[in-house]
Symmetry: C2
Subunit: 196 residues, 2 copies
């Protein structure tokens, strides 16, 4: 049974850590997960392998950190004053994040298939940031009275992520404003119990 | 603007057509979309290239037909007497179909990225079969009084498909009964307006 690697307590200088994560992202896009070597990550980031091994437990953990860094690297989600506006704003922001992540995730799909533990690690690390953002949106909606109770945030985020990836990887169609409005009005708001 | 190829009127003997579609599925899995040649499809299926070109307008159309054949190749969906039972039965059936399709779809993802028209053709051909199955489930539910009105079938199918692919390609986790029940109870039934 593969285990999710525990993140160690060891912390790096933030600039150093960013350089390493950027090297990981570059190599995933250029050569893919299987051929990405820690040696080459260290060389590009001008870091020692010992430093990398102290900070992350292995390649799955490193890749999860690199993707997590991209997930949280977006402008603050807009507070528009309505739940519908906030949902559209949030989906638009994630569209841009997911477009940037697409080449890396595409490079990981074959590796996830041969090592399901990689998929689980990515899922756990990446899910959390979406839940944090969505929780803020729903707390504002409850405070305004747009929602009568806090929804099942995990389920809503799961649907939003699945729809984004499906559109981006499989449909070949753009993550444009018309699609975002369709998702918010035909799926996310009904899922939240808003049927008007 | 790439156009979706129109299916010609030309029909083949069903056994001959099945042999060609099976050769397409084999080659997609073995060598991928870009390296699949019509010559090799014809050789494996003992068909002439002229026959293939009369039946399908090109590789995207052939691949869509091969995937469509897999989508509709499942046992009849169970009529369990409740909407929840029917949804669980339908999701279980599609889990098995999607597991069989996974290697082929994985082989197509890079090609979809470089040729978005391929994604659109696949989407159009494959979506329809899911909508037909789902419509039957919802008609029974309306007739029984489990639903007060026919739902937005396209939106429900879109969510189900997106969740299946997300689980299969990205999460690395199995399409098992516990997951199906979570999807039905936490996402599909709330989306249908059932919040109890």
């Amino acid at each position: 049974m593969p285990q999710s690697p525990a993140t160690t307590q060891y912390r790096l200088d933030p600039a150093r850590e960013q350089a390493i994560l950027e090297a990981i992202r570059e190599l995933l896009t250029e050569v893919g997960y299987d051929r990405m070597s820690i040696d080459e990550v260290a060389r590009r980031a001008r870091a020692s392998k010992a430093t990398i091994y102290r900070r992350w437990s292995g390649k799955p953990d490193m890749v999860a950190a690199a993707l997590h860094g991209m997930m949280i690297d977006h402008p603050p989600l807009p507070d528009t004053g309505t739940l519908r506006g906030d949902l559209i704003g949030a989906m638009n922001a994630f569209c841009r994040v997911y477009e940037r992540k697409q080449p890396i995730v595409l490079s990981l799909l074959a590796a996830i298939r041969s090592d399901p533990s990689l998929g689980r690690v990515l899922h756990e690390h990446v899910l959390e940031s979406g839940v944090t953002d969505a929780t803020a949106v729903f707390q504002r909606a409850v405070a305004r009275g747009d929602l009568t109770a806090a929804p099942n945030v995990g389920a809503v985020v799961e649907v939003g992520k699945a729809l984004l990836w499906h559109r981006l990887l499989l449909s070949g169609e753009p993550l444009d404003e018309a699609w975002v409005i369709h998702i918010v009005d035909d799926i996310l708001r009904p899922l939240l119990g808003i049927h008007h």
